[in-house]
């Protein structure tokens, strides 16, 4: 199944479609990625999905690279490449075009309406991501505590995320979670 043309086509089409509705960034699309990769296509288990998520966090760079990992898991190197192209290609074209014309409509009422209207939608998407990721990542009392402590400290301070990942990773590696 790995690397089959069907898988590659599914990766390209599904990620391209998803990207056009991913308002609020790559993390906002996590529930849809999970739905696709685990529930619909069965490319991986819940546990493998959270592993991909953790690996993407551990890798420097934009969060969107989780898409390369999912594609890689589903269809090898070609799968990773195709999934990333699907996720970034169409939206880059949109961004390129919009970046050139957007400022011309600064005063237009529909422009502010689009901006205002999209804020709560993207927030709802991100909240859904937080919920979905927490549901599959928090499988023990220890991991629940890690999530809660991170919420409080990250909300109250500007501590570098690497501290959270480092401490939680060590606690996990020691088998304490």
């Amino acid at each position: 199944m790995k690397g089959s043309v069907d898988t590659l086509l599914t990766l390209a089409v599904q990620f391209a479609l998803m990207s056009l509705f991913a308002i609020g960034g790559a993390n906002a699309a996590l529930p849809e990625m999970h739905r696709l990769a685990v529930e619909v296509m069965g490319w991986m288990t819940d546990r493998q999905f959270t592993d991909m998520f953790a690996l993407a966090q551990l890798t420097p760079g934009p969060n969107v690279i989780i898409v390369a990992l999912i594609g890689y898991q589903a269809g090898g190197l070609a799968g990773g490449a195709v999934a990333m192209l699907g996720m970034c290609g169409p939206t880059c074209v949109v961004a390129y075009v919009m970046g050139r014309v957007w400022d011309r409509f600064k005063e237009a009422r529909w422009r502010t309406a689009i901006q205002d209207g999209m804020v709560p939608v993207s927030l709802g998407l991100l909240a859904a991501s937080a919920f979905v990721v927490a549901m599959i990542a928090d499988t023990s009392a220890g991991t629940v505590v890690v999530t809660l402590v991170t919420v409080v400290v990250a909300y109250a301070t500007k501590l570098n995320p690497l501290w959270f990942f480092g401490i939680a990773g060590v606690l996990g590696a020691l088998g304490w979670l």
């Binding site: 509705f21 690996l55 969060n63 990773g80 961004a95 990542a137 890690v146 991170t150 939680a168 590696a173």
Partner: protein, 190 residues
């Protein structure tokens, strides 16, 4: 602290698309768990290629456009400086090294993914990363819920329930919800 520099010449931008590529590659390497903070630090504070107002305007556009925010940001920023070459340079810099790194991660995972210590470490990191997203949501929702503007909070809650709890497909939820939310915002401005 002087404010008289407003009329002075704009700060020098990158000297070439290659400089753009190198700078975005550097930004990507610093950014763990997202690169936005580093984009601000390097483009605004260090290089002074953008003022903070310009940065915020560009970010607002990048966030409202579909797709990964920072990818959109790099494409729009690069294209405004050097057209297509600029867009490709900024995007290539942003994604090039992280893609190689993540493939390496994938290889390590395929080889050692069942080791108990690695399994535990990844479980801990996922739990922390979930907490990071929740904290971001809490920060972002404050203005929306403290000073509710029209139907905003309701739209956010419906979106959350449909996607997060009911697990409905993203495309169908947004095809209905996005135009509705924009229309409501349009009328409210009337």
């Amino acid at each position: 602290m002087s404010e008289s520099t407003e009329i002075a010449a704009p700060p020098p931008g990158p000297t070439s698309a290659w400089a753009l590529f190198r700078t975005f590659a550097r930004i990507s390497l610093y950014g763990f768990g997202g690169v936005l903070a580093w984009t601000y630090r390097i483009l605004v504070e260090e290089k002074r290629w953008l003022s903070d107002v310009q940065f915020n305007e560009l970010l607002a556009l990048a966030q409202f456009l579909p797709g990964p925010n920072i990818v959109n940001f790099s494409v729009v920023f690069g294209s405004r400086l050097y057209g297509k070459a600029g867009a490709v340079a900024a995007l290539g810099g942003l994604l090039g090294v992280p893609l190689l790194a993540v493939i390496l991660m994938g290889l390590v995972y395929a080889r050692f993914g069942e080791l108990a210590a690695l399994r535990g470490a990844l479980a801990g990191i996922s739990a922390a990363a979930a907490g990071m997203i929740i904290a971001v949501v809490a920060k972002l929702s404050k203005p929306l819920f403290v000073r509710p503007l029209g139907p905003g909070p309701l739209v956010a809650i419906v979106c959350f329930v449909a996607i997060g709890v009911l697990r409905w497909p993203l495309v169908w939820v947004l095809v209905v919800l996005a135009p509705l939310s924009v229309a409501l915002a349009y009328w409210r401005r009337a």
